[in-house]
Symmetry: C2
Subunit: 277 residues, 2 copies
């Protein structure tokens, strides 16, 4: 079903379509690379699930990507990065990059006074990963963390700035940070699609930042340092794979990627295991 | 991890906690039975996923329940019932009951004028299963179907009648049925937790019905006819199993069951497959 013969790629996985906001930045910086993007849309979301479950899913995704002999793997899901990036890295023989550390770096760099709000899924917030990384990078910072469990389903339902439910939910979460922070870090790859609404509610004095751009730059720097970059004469290509229905992935995913996704390969979950039932 | 020695049970599965509203009615009618309830909380929700994925998950769940030598299996998830009950029945050597047919029967029986609204997940509505069963039972009926993708996450987030977001979302969906129907069928096992709000918005002229009670009665009648009932002297017991974190299942599930869930066994997804990775 999928192009096993594709090798020497950048492997990217996410719980579904959210990581496409990261993929977008990666392709901007690394247009000559072959990329396999795996969306685990059959088991999405990860953000409301337990750490052990997310660790297991993340490692299964990474192992699946190993078929394409990746130069490196990007965990383009905040929840999986928050709870599973070390677990994946310990079990996979190629470099593994998450989005939490780069997101924390971006927030720490642009925040004027170190008063940083983090909006993310329940599991990401519960892990304390963003809080930890921000305080490591900027020990005098104050971090305000808000779990936003309704934002992913609202965004996946196609609701944006003008939708009343999106506005009410975003207000409920952002209000918890109001007058406390100078920067809000969008700690979930879905949230950039509501960045304008969140920024409007937070007000003009608050900067909004996400992980995607910084993650792509981190990967670019590391690939350069490790001499892993594809020659500039190469033509990059993206192979999309999803564990649930390809059509649904393509239609919802196109909004996240910012351009039309034409072909999506279907990966059956059984292929994750050595032997199927 | 789980009590494999438990045998001769009623097996019930759902994508997560929603089916506990069905379990509640089953235990009311069948207090002497041993019941294994499996919530596939690691892969929840099913209602936004493709038919093939839901079929595969449903059959895996049913096959797992076969370890407990069930007298029968109840698919206590509307989405899985809508798209996968025949697929499960064709591959499992015990009787399999879904919730869609009983729900359709209940709606057809109580509707005064056959103007029936169905609220359910995207995948359930997309399958046309409720529409088909209602028209089979009552060919002169008119069915109005509304997919309600935000209600499951809103209910799982613990929001009820007094919550503004719950109210806004329920209004958006129920308004599509207003002045058209005399009965609304809650075609998702989560929705009974918002029945009061939906009823309030729909107004006093509209009856609200769900599948749970009718499903339990169907199962009771069939078990009696097939001589499968446990002796009245037996003491029933419920074994809860979940594929995601047991603690989360217990805390959210207790709201659906209407009483505290004390012990939940954790089932790793790998156990669904003959050989694990």
């Amino acid at each position: 079903m999928h192009p096993e013969s594709v090798q020497n790629v950048i492997g990217i996985f996410d719980s579904g379509v959210g990581g496409l906001t990261v993929l977008r930045c990666v392709t901007d910086l690394l247009p000559a690379e072959k990329i396999v993007y795996l969306g685990d849309s059959a088991r999405v979301p990860y953000g409301t699930k337990g750490d052990d479950t997310v660790k297991r899913f993340a490692l299964e995704n990474a192992r699946f990507l190993m078929r394409f002999k990746p130069k490196l793997i990007i965990v383009a899901c905040n929840t999986a990065s928050a709870v599973a990036v070390d677990h994946v890295a310990a079990n996979i023989p190629v470099p593994v990059f998450g989005v939490v550390r780069p997101g924390a770096e971006a927030a720490c760099r642009i925040s004027d006074h170190g008063r940083i709000g983090v909006m993310a899924t329940e599991t990401t917030i519960g892990s304390g990963a963003y809080q930890r990384h921000i305080l490591e990078l900027r020990p005098e910072a104050t971090v305000f963390a808000v779990a936003c469990p309704l934002l992913v389903p609202i965004i996946e339902d196609g609701r944006g700035r003008t939708d009343q439910i999106a506005r009410l939910a975003a207000s409920e979460y952002v209000t918890k940070l109001a007058n406390k922070v100078d920067t809000i870090l969008l700690g979930c790859t879905h949230y950039p699609l509501l960045a304008d609404l969140i920024g409007e509610i937070a007000g003009p004095g608050v900067k909004i930042v996400d992980s995607a751009g910084e993650t792509a730059e981190t990967v670019f720097r590391q690939m350069k340092a490790m001499n892993l970059l594809a020659g500039k004469e190469k033509r990059g290509q993206i192979y999309f794979m999803a564990t649930d229905a390809p059509g649904r992935f393509a239609s919802i995913g196109s909004r996240f990627l910012g351009k039309k996704i034409k072909k999506v390969y279907h990966v059956k979950q059984e292929e994750f295991f050595e032997k199927t039932q």
